[in-house]
């Protein structure tokens, strides 16, 4: 058997491990094993590629692998669980940039030209890679809220500018594919890479922090598509299969997120939330009833069934461990505690689950929105921690609300609702929440972590 056949057989096995890895993720019990299997397949694919007879020098390879592995390990162990959206966002970007460099390297190594189909594939790889990279950097910065604000940044004629950049990318792509012979083609290559980088920025900059879950999912998908496209460059099936799996995964998550907000992908990227006038929202009547931790304790102490709805505020105040302590106190008191998790709670899909799991909360106790809603009437206390829009009844009661139609966790149907909130501000969507005015609702203002700790202290003292 020659080396090439061996390499290809290993590639087939690697493809199988990737598929198995995803398949085993269907349950938390097998997911860890799946990840290990998938990683082994990746290692095998890398090792046999190094043995390829076309690989004739190892200096850059050794340096590249060493640097990449060191940075990767550092990120994997230094990133706190609250920072997962940023890390995934950053990795999306690196994936895109890697594909851009592969396309550039291939183009540079063949100054004699590539033909039209080869040119189109190079172009496609380079632009998907570039858009993914610059878009991910913006998404990362918005999540970090360090360099730019998490708020949507809009200006007049935004869609026209974005459209013009897109046209430029397409036009230079056609010109490039017609003539891929260097040095002339280099000009086109440089222009569409720069334009595609600008496109990535233009697409993400108008999107607000609350919509970042959608953006991160879509960019996740793009990084897979970029890998897929680079598979066409080097004519490698494994890259195509792996890239397609990631592409499909990102798209599925994007659609789940959009459905959970009752919005289309186009609306997220073009609309800018609440930009369209939706008419006056219904007036909210009633008064807000504030409670102290000691009163909230009395309500919780009497409860048999408690449902906790966590939101991004929980991550912000790093309150996941305090939640666990309160859960333990409640369970000791004989109550049944579960966590109702909305698909868009947090800054990325599944973010709340990871934070709760980190705090040692059993995944059995985490319930999806559709499973908890039918049981809400029998719940004594529904405690909302740092969530707002995902429990806003206006989504179901007020046709003029910007949230109208969004599926929510029906917290207001519980006997008593306790809302932990930092201040009296509105949610990300800037929409008033009538839940807070309902008769059965009590507000516990303050930092979620300190409020939770105060409750735990009451339980210990009581």
């Amino acid at each position: 058997m020659d080396l090439n056949t061996l390499i290809n057989i290993v590639y087939i096995l690697s493809a199988i491990t990737f598929i198995l890895g995803f398949k085993l993720m269907s349950s938390p019990e097998s997911a860890k094993r799946g990840n290990l299997i998938s990683g082994t397949g990746m290692a095998a694919a890398i090792i046999v590629t190094l043995m390829d007879q076309h690989v004739e020098r190892y200096d850059y390879i050794i340096i590249g692998v060493a640097v990449g592995a060191a940075v990767g390990l550092w990120l994997a162990y230094k990133t706190p669980m609250t920072g997962m959206p940023q890390m995934v966002g950053l990795l999306n970007g690196f994936g895109g940039l890697a594909s851009l460099f592969v396309a550039w390297g291939e183009f540079h190594a063949h100054p004699e030209g590539q033909g039209i189909s080869g040119g189109l594939i190079l172009w496609l790889t380079a632009i998907i890679g570039s858009v993914t990279f610059s878009g991910s950097l913006i998404a990362w910065a918005k999540l970090e809220e360090k360099f730019i604000s998490g708020k949507p940044i809009t200006y007049n004629g935004q869609q026209i500018v974005t459209g013009a950049i897109l046209l430029g990318v397409l036009a230079t792509g056609v010109l490039f594919a017609m003539d891929t012979v260097a040095p002339d083609a280099y000009r086109y290559f440089a222009v569409f890479v720069v334009l595609a980088l600008a496109l990535g920025i233009a697409l993400v900059i108008p999107i607000g922090g609350a919509d970042m879950p959608v953006v991160i999912c879509l960019l996740n998908s793009y990084s897979g598509m970029a890998a897929c496209a680079s598979g066409f460059i080097i004519q490698n099936n494994l890259l195509i299969v792996a890239g397609a799996l990631v592409g499909a995964s990102g798209i599925i998550l994007t659609l789940i997120m959009c459905k959970a907000m009752n919005r289309s992908v186009a609306n997220v990227f073009l609309g800018g939330f609440g930009a369209a006038p939706t008419g006056a929202s219904a007036e909210v009547f009633g008064e807000i009833k504030e409670v102290k931790a000691s009163d909230a304790y009395l309500i919780l102490e009497a409860a048999n069934r408690v449902v906790i709805v966590p939101g991004y505020g929980l991550a912000v105040s790093q309150a996941q461990h305090a939640v666990r302590e309160l859960t333990e106190a409640l369970e000791k008191n004989g109550a049944d505690v579960s966590f109702a998790i909305h698909p868009v709670a947090g800054r990325m899909p599944g973010h709340m689950n990871v934070l709760l799991a980190e705090a040692n909360i059993s995944y059995d106790a985490m319930v999806e929105m559709d499973a908890i809603n039918p049981q809400m009437d029998s719940v004594n206390v529904c405690m909302i921690i740092g969530a707002n829009d995902v429990v806003n009844p206006a989504a179901q009661e007020d046709k003029n609300s910007p949230l109208w139609g969004m599926p929510i966790i029906q917290a207001s149907r519980a006997q008593t609702v306790i809302v932990m909130k930092r201040g009296k501000g509105k949610g990300f969507a800037g929409v008033e929440n009538p839940l807070f005015f309902k008769n059965n609702c009590r507000m516990l203002y303050g930092d979620a972590k300190s409020s939770l700790q105060a409750l735990v202290a009451e339980f210990k003292g009581g």
Partner: protein, 101 residues
């Protein structure tokens, strides 16, 4: 690129997309964050293309600069591979089921 090769690769692509949609739809929302970081790791598969570029023979034509670009691509893709798999492992380690009292 030859049309036969191109159509063959497209064939693989289409099948892989359908397979991906089928298996990934079965991942519960509980595990969506590890699913995404695991996807990051797999998108690092670009490292194979980067190795081919970085391994181009020395001193031939434009190879040297292309190899440097490949080396950079390797570093970036390896961040995804190593960072993605290890952080996914770290997360999945946390998902535990506890005995109900």
């Amino acid at each position: 690129m030859e049309t036969t090769v191109l159509t063959f690769l497209l064939f693989i692509l289409v099948l892989a997309i359908f397979l991906g949609v089928e298996i990934i739809s079965k991942v519960p929302s509980l595990l969506h964050t590890p699913l995404m970081s695991g996807s990051n790791a797999i998108s690092g598969i670009t490292v194979l293309g980067a190795i081919v570029a970085a391994g181009l023979a020395k001193g031939v034509g434009n190879n040297d600069f292309a190899a440097l670009l490949g080396g950079i691509a390797i570093a970036l893709a390896m961040i995804n591979v190593v960072g993605g798999y290890f952080v996914t492992d770290r997360m999945l380690e946390m998902f535990k089921k506890k005995e109900k009292k």
